[in-house]
């Protein structure tokens, strides 16, 4: 992480002796398991917790007695933690951690669902999965924009502004032209506009990239808010009633239980996001462009020596990133809602968190975005069943997880070496 900037700061000591990373994490899991078994088990009721495979209470369901489920899943977490503490081989670390955490979540859900008001002891999985993806959409686009930027060495704190500008110009030009496709292109252009500013000022004028990102967020907030009040509020029919993309059903795939209705009856943005993750992943790690991008982000001087045009590549990637984020913003205004002031509301910063949590890789960013989307969706669900867990604390989860990640508590995250450092040829 910042070891280049602050070499003196104690880098997390190399694990030595008994307390290896596996054991430390195992201890945490053990505590979580204990908590789940005892507390969740005690609080859960004897009601059946139903996880229905549909959008409502009807249809097939996975059922388990609330108390039994909470305790059993808690014990699984406990067992995973104990195994890690006992000295599990390193290659089993990730699977054991995953099993432990998933079981913990399930134990929590068993308690929550069984303790819900009578008649609501069910969790419609289709809704949850769909909501997770829906809420994760801007995060996926945003964090992909971050990947493109930061892999080539430009810090992108302006994701929020790019999303917002994309959402705004998508809504504005979509409404004026009456065409979703014009709106989509306009959204990409709008996002690129913000990132063009980021590129010019950070690459040409060497302004600090974090500073520029923060200022651009405010600029985007101001411009869109101003034009929203001046244009969209006065004449919403003309300027803020963009047509929307419908849902496209993919034959066969949409018949898969749970995943089918949730994933394969979505709109263009959902498919685009998944395709983009794949494309960017392959492009970044399997193509010449990807190799150059990564080398420019890690060691621009070396890349320059080999004939890579560092600044040109940075310009192109940053602008491309803006287009991706802009489309992400349009996933709101061209599919779900009409534009409102500050409608992104911090999603850009969660996308930044997802980027960091996903360790600057497209697939990692996707998983992190889905995790954050799930936390968000869970908060909505728990609110609907009058849970005693305040939604605000679930909403904090992405941010807390990111702090834990950068503090090195769940493995180290490392940014591209030249991320944020302007390159001066010479």
């Amino acid at each position: 992480m910042s070891t280049t900037a602050v070499p003196d700061v104690a880098v997390a000591p190399v694990d030595e002796g008994f307390w290896t990373r596996t054991r430390k994490v195992g201890l945490v899991l053990l505590a979580l398991g204990l908590l789940a078994t005892v507390l969740f088990g005690a609080l859960a009721t004897g009601e059946q917790a139903r996880f229905t495979l549909s959008e409502d209470a009807a249809g097939a369901a996975l059922e388990v007695n609330g108390t039994v489920g909470a305790i059993v899943f808690g014990l699984i977490t406990l067992a995973a933690g104990a195994a890690m503490l006992a000295g599990l081989p390193k290659r089993w670390f990730v699977p054991a951690l995953a099993v432990g955490l998933v079981a913990f979540v399930l134990s929590f859900l068993c308690w929550q669902v069984s303790a819900a008001p009578t008649g609501q002891n069910f969790m419609p999985l289709v809704n949850i999965v769909r909501g997770t993806f829906l809420l994760a959409l801007p995060l996926i686009f945003g964090s992909l924009a971050g990947v493109l930027c930061e892999r080539s060495g430009v810090v992108n704190v302006a994701i929020e502004g790019q999303l917002l500008m994309g959402a705004f110009s998508g809504a504005l030009f979509g409404s004026i032209s009456g065409s979703v496709w014009v709106g989509l292109v306009a959204a990409a252009v709008g996002g690129s506009f913000i990132s063009l500013l980021l590129a010019v000022f950070s690459i040409r004028y060497l302004v600090d990239q974090v500073v520029m990102g923060i200022v651009l967020n405010l600029l985007a907030l101001g411009i869109t808010g101003f034009l929203y009040e001046r244009l969209m509020q006065t004449d919403a029919a003309r300027y803020n009633s963009a047509p929307r993309f419908g849902n496209w059903e993919i034959p066969l795939l949409s018949d898969i239980p749970v995943l089918g209705p949730a994933l394969f009856r979505g709109n263009i943005f959902l498919y685009l996001a998944l395709v983009l993750v794949l494309v960017i992943h392959i492009a970044l790690f399997r193509t010449r462009w990807g190799l150059r991008t990564r080398s420019v982000g890690e060691h621009p001087t070396a890349a320059d020596t080999l004939g890579v045009k560092v600044l040109g590549l940075r310009y192109r990637n940053v602008i491309l990133a803006g287009a991706v984020a802009g489309i992400g913003g349009a996933s709101y205004t061209l599919a779900l809602f009409s534009f409102t002031k500050n409608m992104i509301g911090g999603k850009g910063f969660i996308a930044l968190a997802a980027l960091i949590f996903g360790r600057w890789s497209p697939t990692g960013a996707l998983l992190a975005a889905l995790f954050f989307g799930f936390a968000d969706q869970l908060a909505t669900y728990l609110g609907a069943i009058n849970s005693i867990i305040p939604g605000q604390f679930l909403a904090m989860l992405p941010y807390l997880a990111t702090i834990l990640a950068v503090a090195g508590l769940v493995g180290r995250v490392r940014a591209p070496a030249a991320d944020g450092k302007p390159y001066i040829k010479g």
């Binding site: 700061v9 104690a10 500073v211 200022v215 904090m396």
Partner: protein, 441 residues
């Protein structure tokens, strides 16, 4: 650096006003006179010419002023393109250009006139209160910005980028408000306790990224961004809890702070200016003293300039980082606490601190991360905010334009090369215009 100027013209001391600029020019002239008289008196430039030339050089003052002008030009363009009536006159621009120009001029000049009337002085004011009102409003908006600006600036000087002033201000306002309506204390003491509570709230929220940076190397930019949002969610959760929420209200608003914990007003009950601005001046002085006169300030600047060298010299970098962040948190917390202890609001709401933390970043940059510069920058931003309110209600120009102006000013001053290029300024004598903190994650 070949710097032959007298101290007044050295890069460290920008002329804060035209008078000062003129003075430094005067100094130059005298020197030039002394040097030039024996050899070639006919080449001696006139005083006026030197003044103009120096004013047109890319010094900090000129760049700041021109950035303001540029921002206002962009703002004017935004106003024109968003006004359908004015825009309609451009449809026949070639036939009757006067129409378009007149309509645009009326729109823009009225808006900016209201911006001025709302923040500095309204020539139409008839009573003393009305005449003082713009200044009072400006000072009300300035006070918290001074604190958050100082918070960011102090951290900058210590080599840390405190994006968390927003979160620290939120924690400050939370604790200050809790102390303000939960503790039954006599006036005076109550205010003191509430202000202190605000400082503690900010300090805690500054300590976390500080200690994480010092112990694990986790980057403070990421952590402070995350802590900002955690603070927001904590605030929205807290407001609706029993004992905190206003029992007479169903929406998210807390009980009001007791009168005994309110900062006293400066110009009587009719005007909103409160003692917060005095605290702000004191805080500016204190931070200036801390930075320039104290041992801690020296260590802090040393660490900011070069952590390696500082460590070699025996300065504890980790301790400095933690202290810097705690101090930055204290300042931001104090700024936040004014949002309920002052006259802006008396109760917690989800948006009680508005944007003061993020604005603080802009203020710190605009003030060139120097305490008194920050205070001046906060004054400008406070004026823009106060004037923006009037512009919104009188000219119907959305307050958001102020955000645009503020962001643009900072973009331009952050890239002096751009301003120089646009206005064809002479090469900078003061070479320290670049805001260079680039360190990356």
């Amino acid at each position: 650096m070949t710097n032959s100027n007298p101290p007044a013209g050295s890069p460290d001391k920008e002329p804060a006003s035209e008078e000062q600029a003129a003075q430094s020019t005067l100094g130059n002239t005298e020197r030039a006179e002394a040097a030039a008289t024996p050899t070639a008196p006919e080449q001696r430039p006139t005083l006026g010419r030197l003044f103009v030339e120096n004013l047109w050089a890319a010094n900090t003052f000129t760049v700041t002023l021109l950035s303001l002008v540029l921002a206002m030009v962009v703002g004017a363009v935004l106003m024109i393109i968003s006004d359908p009536d004015v825009l309609a006159t451009y449809a026949y621009f070639t036939a009757r250009p006067a129409d378009a120009i007149n309509a645009s001029w009326t729109l823009v000049s009225e808006a900016y006139a209201n911006l001025f009337k709302g923040s500095v002085f309204d020539p139409g004011a008839t009573t003393v209160n009305a005449a003082l009102s713009p200044i009072s409003e400006t000072l009300t908006y300035t006070a918290p910005l001074v604190f958050t600006g100082l918070s960011v600036a102090l951290a900058f000087r210590g080599g840390l980028f405190n994006i968390g002033a927003q979160g620290q201000a939120i924690m400050g306002v939370v604790l200050a408000a809790l102390a303000g309506f939960l503790l039954p204390l006599p006036p005076g003491l109550h205010l003191l306790v509430a202000v202190l509570a605000g400082a503690i709230g900010g300090a805690i929220w500054g300590f976390i990224p500080g200690i994480l940076k010092a112990r694990t190397g986790a980057h403070e930019v990421i952590n402070t961004i995350m802590l900002n949002y955690i603070a927001v969610y904590f605030l929205t959760w807290l407001i609706v809890q029993n004992g905190v929420q206003d029992p007479n209200r169903t929406d998210a608003i807390s009980r009001p702070v007791d009168a005994s914990a309110q900062l006293p007003r400066l110009f009587g009950d009719g005007l909103r200016a409160h003692a917060g601005i005095i605290l702000a001046v004191l805080a500016t002085w204190a931070v200036a003293w801390l930075l320039n006169r104290s041992t801690l300030g020296f260590e802090l600047r040393a660490v900011g300039a070069n952590p390696d060298a500082s460590r070699t010299a025996g300065i504890s970098v980790t301790r400095t980082y933690v202290l810097v962040m705690v101090f930055a948190g204290v300042l931001a917390g104090l700024g936040g606490s004014q949002m309920v202890l002052g006259t802006t609001a008396a109760a917690l709401t989800p948006l009680v601190v508005a944007q003061i933390g993020f604005d603080g970043i802009l203020v710190a940059l605009l003030g060139r991360v120097k305490p008194w510069g920050v205070a001046m920058a906060a004054l400008l931003f406070g004026a823009l905010q106060a004037g923006g309110n009037r512009m919104q209600s009188y000219s119907g120009i959305s307050l958001e334009l102020v955000t645009v102006l503020q962001a643009l000013i900072v973009i331009f001053i952050a890239a002096p090369a751009l301003v120089k290029a646009i206005f064809q300024l002479r090469a900078a004598r003061a070479a320290r215009l670049q805001t260079s903190l680039a360190k990356g994650w």
